[in-house]
């Protein structure tokens, strides 16, 4: 062993070599997006490490679920039963409304909506890059997950699939700065684009004219325009509307409906393919253009 003289190429040469490799990687990954398929393989290769890192958390969850008292369980069970009763009643109504809706749509010669395939996924709680909002889930290409797939939680839209591995995949959240969702105000159908701000409790609506009818408390639902998210799922609730005439656009902030900070179970959707009879949108809306610029 000779520690005084390190063999091989000098440190400067090594540094230049790896920095050149980094520059190439950054260029091809970020600017050309040519690593999408390779990312999948890399993600599959490192997923054992991620499952390993997830075990302490899983143990804690397991322990806390197994060390609850009997009374607590009974109480929980009762709550669930009451909740189930309530939901069943709503389902009965929903079935009737669905039938009615389908009949009306047939009368109007609009395509009848199909049931959407769904799958439940669980979050692997591992640390992610602090500069972006992402989570890892325990479903991958083996379960049919694909890139750009919409992801929901029990309350609303959470995000979409960013990279797919074999047994795990990465979800980019709607609050990420590079993400945007086309939405409409559920009260009156005004179309907007909700972009992430990097803050977990805030989305921003860009380019909203002062004249548009939007109020604090309005619910924003997906408009289905980008072709990624199916129509009608709640995204956010408007929290701030400031119509300052000295600015070119109104300032509209909203808060995600999904509990982004306490996600555990997620729902993956497989929206049906656009049927050939569906009326094509006649006017190319600005919302759609924006959407394609942002990562969506």
């Amino acid at each position: 062993m000779n520690l005084s003289f390190v063999s091989g190429p000098s440190e400067q040469h090594r540094l230049i070599l790896v920095l050149f490799c980094s520059a190439c990687l950054i260029f091809f990954d970020h600017k050309l997006n040519s690593f999408e398929s390779v990312r999948g393989y890399l993600q599959s290769m490192v997923s054992p490490l991620q499952y390993l890192a997830n075990t302490p958390n899983q143990l804690m969850t397991w322990a806390s679920e197994n060390i609850t008292t009997r009374e607590k369980l009974v109480e929980q069970n009762q709550n669930f039963k009451v909740e189930q009763l309530r939901l069943r009643e709503q389902i009965m109504q929903l079935a009737m409304l669905k039938q009615e809706n389908a009949r009306l749509r047939q009368l109007l010669a609009s395509p009848v909506r199909q049931e959407i395939k769904k799958m439940v996924a669980e979050i692997l709680s591992v640390n992610s890059d602090p500069y972006s909002h992402q989570v890892l889930i325990n479903r991958g290409a083996n379960d049919g997950v694909y890139e750009g797939q919409p992801v929901l939680d029990a309350n609303g839209v959470v995000g979409q699939i960013l990279h797919v591995g074999a047994t795990s995949s990465r979800v980019i959240l709607i609050t990420d700065v590079t993400h945007a969702v086309p939405v409409r105000v559920s009260r009156n159908g005004t179309r907007l684009v909700s972009s992430g701000t990097g803050r977990i409790d805030r989305l921003v609506q860009n380019h909203v004219p002062h004249s548009s009818d939007i109020q604090k408390g309005d619910l924003l639902v997906t408009s289905g325009l980008g072709g990624k998210y199916p129509e009608g799922y709640p995204v956010a609730e408007v929290t701030v509307v400031r119509q300052d005439e000295s600015r070119p656009f109104a300032m509209v902030y909203s808060k995600p409906i999904a509990q982004i900070d306490r996600l555990r179970y997620l729902l993956l959707l497989w929206p049906e393919q656009q049927s050939p009879f569906a009326p094509a949108p006649k006017v190319e809306s600005p919302v759609k253009e924006e959407q394609s610029n942002a990562r969506s």
Binding site: S4, E11, V18, C21, S22, I26, L49, A53, N57, H163
Partner: protein, 159 residues
């Protein structure tokens, strides 16, 4: 790489990778020490013939995949930070523990700033002082990590 118990080096690096993604409570999470960088620094100073800039770059690349950031960012920052340590390993090796901790502080701060600057040039990220909290925790952890790794190196006769 694997001769003379080199597998132990690999094991510490894998453990450091896991430690850098293991979930932690939100209040502690901002103070997560840079385990991977510290382990790399130790081996770079102790055995520069085994662990060099290319190892650091590869580990940084795996970290990029694990964290889901743009490929090459952590790799580049890790390699530059490692270069400082490896280029001066004979000096750093003879420093006292406190002086070494100061070097670790400078190197980890540089690493975080490099990652931030690179991210800044691709996304609209804003600098928060909390991005540099890991520097403090890394310095504190160095006082435990250094003796632990040295003990391990001597016990397993890694060279």
């Amino acid at each position: 790489m694997l001769a003379h118990n080199g597998i132990m080096i690999l094991l510490t690096l894998v453990l450091a990778l896991v430690a850098s993604i293991v979930p932690m409570p939100l209040s502690v999470d901002a103070f997560r020490p840079d385990w991977l960088l510290m382990v790399l620094l130790y081996w770079g100073i102790a055995l520069p013939n085994r662990v060099n800039i290319i190892t650091a770059w590869l580990m940084g690349f795996i970290l990029d995949v694990l964290l889901g950031s743009i490929l090459g960012i952590h790799a580049a920052a890790m390699a530059i930070a490692m270069y400082i340590a490896v280029a001066n390993f004979q000096k750093i090796r003879n420093f006292s523990r406190v002086q070494q901790a100061l070097v670790v502080a400078v190197v980890t701060a540089l690493y975080h700033l490099l990652v931030f600057w690179l991210q800044r040039s691709f996304n609209d990220v804003v600098f928060l002082p909390s991005y540099l909290y890991p520097v403090l925790s890394s310095v504190v952890m160095w006082f435990w990590l250094f003796p632990a790794l040295r003990l391990m190196r001597r016990h397993f006769k890694i060279k």
